[in-house]
């Protein structure tokens, strides 16, 4: 016999074991991602089209409101391309966080019946949502061509930006998912918070229109940094500030570490409280 498994009270588990679990659970992760994607588009008549329709419509509305009604000063690139680039990032992030946060609850029938490393559960949404996001990027390229926006060689960094957004979303979900499993208030609070966050972030408008006194906040905000990074990579606009990048990286590491710790502490008794 080769496998010896020792089951102990949760306080005895170490952080490294969580990371090992993540690796051990990769097979299940793959299957759950596949399930997520298959189920999402199986019965929808327009199937995968929904994934791109949503940001296109939103971009159209943003364009009408901000360009025609409000006459926003030009952000340097054609506005629809600018807005769509921001929306692709934002929608990916918000789906990763929303679905990642509720993942423990939506999969509770699984979690209460069979053991597998729970740490993979909040990671499913960031991974399956990446497919929609990639489609969004493809559409973004088409829109950029349509509006004759200048694409930059730095576009090769786009996958890294997306990867980072996914990681950041996972880190946030890791913190929120165990809380949501125990306190359902999170589920009510989160959509509202995200909506506020979207309007506060430079997605539909450039940070340059924000008063100077609060602009430092826009330089530090991880969401703004990620959106700026996307626009910089694809469209060659101004890159995010160094301070913002450092702060974003630090907060990701911190969130990830905090999330892992929280997860480790709650994991063992999650089933009793879910």
């Amino acid at each position: 016999m080769s496998v010896v498994r020792i089951i102990r009270p949760i306080d005895d588990r170490r952080l490294i074991e969580e990371l090992r679990d993540l690796w051990r659970g990769r097979g299940i992760l793959a299957v759950l991602i596949k399930r997520d994607i298959a189920v999402r588009y199986r019965q929808a008549a327009l199937g995968i089209l929904w994934a791109v329709l949503q940001p296109i419509v939103t971009t159209a509305i943003f364009t009408i409101v901000f360009v025609i009604f409000i006459r926003l000063p030009s952000p340097g690139v054609p506005y629809p391309v600018f807005a769509f680039a921001g929306l692709v990032i934002w929608q990916y992030f918000s789906r990763a966080v929303t679905e990642g946060t509720s993942s423990l609850v939506t999969n509770s029938s699984l979690i209460t019946k069979v053991y597998f490393p729970r740490i993979v559960v909040p990671l499913v949404a960031p991974c399956s949502a990446a497919l929609d996001c990639l489609l969004g990027v493809a559409v973004l390229l088409v829109i950029a061509l349509l509006f004759q926006a200048q694409l930059h060689w730095t576009a090769v960094f786009v996958p890294f930006v997306l990867l980072f957004v996914g990681l950041f979303g996972y880190a946030v979900a890791l913190c929120l998912a165990p809380l949501h499993a125990i306190y359902r208030d999170i589920g009510i609070l989160l959509p509202f918070t995200l909506q506020v966050a979207m309007y506060l972030s430079p997605i539909a408008y450039p940070a340059s229109i924000v008063p100077e006194s609060v602009r430092w906040l826009y330089r530090l905000s991880p969401v703004a940094v990620m959106v700026d990074a996307m626009r910089w990579a694809l469209l060659g606009s101004e890159p995010p500030s160094a301070a913002g990048v450092v702060f974003t990286l630090l907060s990701t590491v911190l969130l990830f570490w905090g999330g892992l710790n929280l997860f480790r502490r709650v994991e063992g008794t999650l089933v009793d409280r879910i």
Binding site: P9, A38, K113, V114, Y183
Partner: protein, 427 residues
């Protein structure tokens, strides 16, 4: 000695309190509790403060590789908690479990099925969740599908399946899990008799190939049939752990006194002998063909013989003996006397030691526990041992062998379970 499963001082504490009674604790509750703790120390009202209890308390046992262990206990006794800890679904509060070998758990058939996906997709999904590798599932796929009998629908969404089909497919996946240690909760509670039989058969196969099985069931016949050892849990503690599965399940079903009374032989105690002017009862028992008193449950196709030993002192033409058989619900299944047939068939009751024997019909009694009451009397005059009011009784337990059909393996409905033959004539 390497144990397959070793539990050491296992305990699980649950919190039972005002907030938890509602199951979902709100953030407000948590904040209020936190504020109370920070502000007022421990001054909060006693009733609102959480009450703790041990669902499992200091449970230790070790299972050898290849053992099939039945876990029994009433609802809420802690056996499901034990299984949940062993299958790593919830963590113990104290103690530890060591599992030596790949462990598969089946706490509910169909765990992880998704209704929108096809049978094929679900086999892979379910198999992976239960711990199989993709290549392994691919290799066993045809076998799994054949076992389930849903070949024609394997590419149809599972939501179009009947519940029976879902169950068969789910069990087929689980049955091919092939772990070294298998932890199974009450899976026999669902499904028809054929499914149950398949389930039990598969577990028997697994145990024959040296797999260690931990099996929770309320079906004591299945426990008797399958398990070489029984652990009885009550109030979160092991109260019995024995290799004599039948003895434990009998005590579980009938209590200590009931189990003691479950004898299949009556012999006269000094003060309560049945001693009359006409005869004295020497013994009354159920025995097998070889003459041995029956001390275990028998299949309904096994021969049981009722034996009444008497010292006849005085003959009387109306003197007769017999017994009646009463099931668990108190229904008298039948009654029989030595004078049932025509006069020339009556056994001769002459003075001296007489042993009356009568074979219990095979393939007739349903599954369950039966009380056999002695009848003794003189026709139209007197009862020496009256049906329904006699202390002279023995017990017989029937388990299995109900028919050769694949459909009936547990109790059949109806008071009796005769195997009746059928034929068809085509014009």
């Amino acid at each position: 000695m390497t144990w397959a499963i070793e539990a050491l001082g296992l305990g699980k504490q649950y919190v039972r309190g005002a907030a938890h009674r509602r199951h979902i604790m709100t953030l407000r509750d948590a904040l209020a509790e936190w504020a109370r703790r920070v502000g007022g120390g421990t001054a909060s009202a006693g009733s609102a403060v959480t009450e703790r209890f041990w669902a499992l308390n200091d449970v230790s046992f070790a299972v050898e590789p290849g053992e099939v262990v039945g876990i029994i206990g009433r609802n809420g006794s802690g056996k499901s908690t034990l299984l949940k800890i062993i299958s790593q679904i919830t963590a113990p509060t104290v103690g530890e479990v060591r599992l030596n070998g790949r462990t598969g758990t089946l706490l509910e058939v169909g765990t992880g099925f998704h209704h929108e996906l096809t049978g094929r997709e679900n086999v892979f999904l379910n198999g992976t969740i239960l711990g199989m590798h993709r290549a392994e599932i691919a290799r066993k796929f045809d076998e799994i599908v054949a076992f389930s009998g849903v070949e024609d629908f394997i590419d149809t969404a599972v939501k179009r399946y009947s519940s029976g089909m879902q169950m068969r497919l789910a069990f087929a996946v689980a049955a091919h899990l092939d772990p070294e240690i298998l932890v199974v909760d009450e899976v026999l509670a669902v499904g028809d008799a054929e499914f149950q039989k398949k389930c039990l058969g598969k577990m028997e196969d697994l145990s024959r190939t040296g797999r260690t099985i931990l099996f929770v069931s309320h079906n004591m016949n299945a426990i008797d049939q399958l398990c070489s050892r029984v652990i009885w849990i009550n109030g979160g503690a092991v109260i019995e752990d024995s290799h004599d599965a039948y003895a434990v399940t009998t005590r579980y079903l009938f209590g200590e006194e009931g189990a003691a009374a479950l004898k299949s032989e009556w012999r006269p105690p000094v003060d309560a002998a049945l001693d009359t002017e006409y005869f004295a009862l020497r013994s009354f028992r159920a025995r097998d063909d070889a003459g041995k008193t029956i001390t275990r449950p028998i299949r309904n196709d096994e021969q049981a013989v009722i034996e009444i030993a008497l010292d006849v002192r005085k003959t009387h033409p109306g003197l007769n003996f017999g017994y009646s058989i009463v099931n668990e619900s108190g229904v008298r299944v039948y009654w029989t006397l030595t004078t049932d047939q025509t006069r020339e068939h009556w056994p001769k009751l002459e003075c001296g030691r007489v042993t009356l024997t009568s074979a219990v019909p095979k393939r007739f009694l349903n599954q369950g526990l039966f009380r056999l009451e002695l009848h003794a009397g003189i026709h139209n005059q007197v009862w020496f041992s009256q049906p329904g009011a006699t202390p002279y009784a023995v017990f017989l337990r029937i388990a299995g062998g109900l028919s050769d059909s694949p459909y009936w393996t547990t109790a059949r409905s109806g008071v009796v379970a005769p195997v009746v033959s059928w034929s068809a004539t085509t014009d």
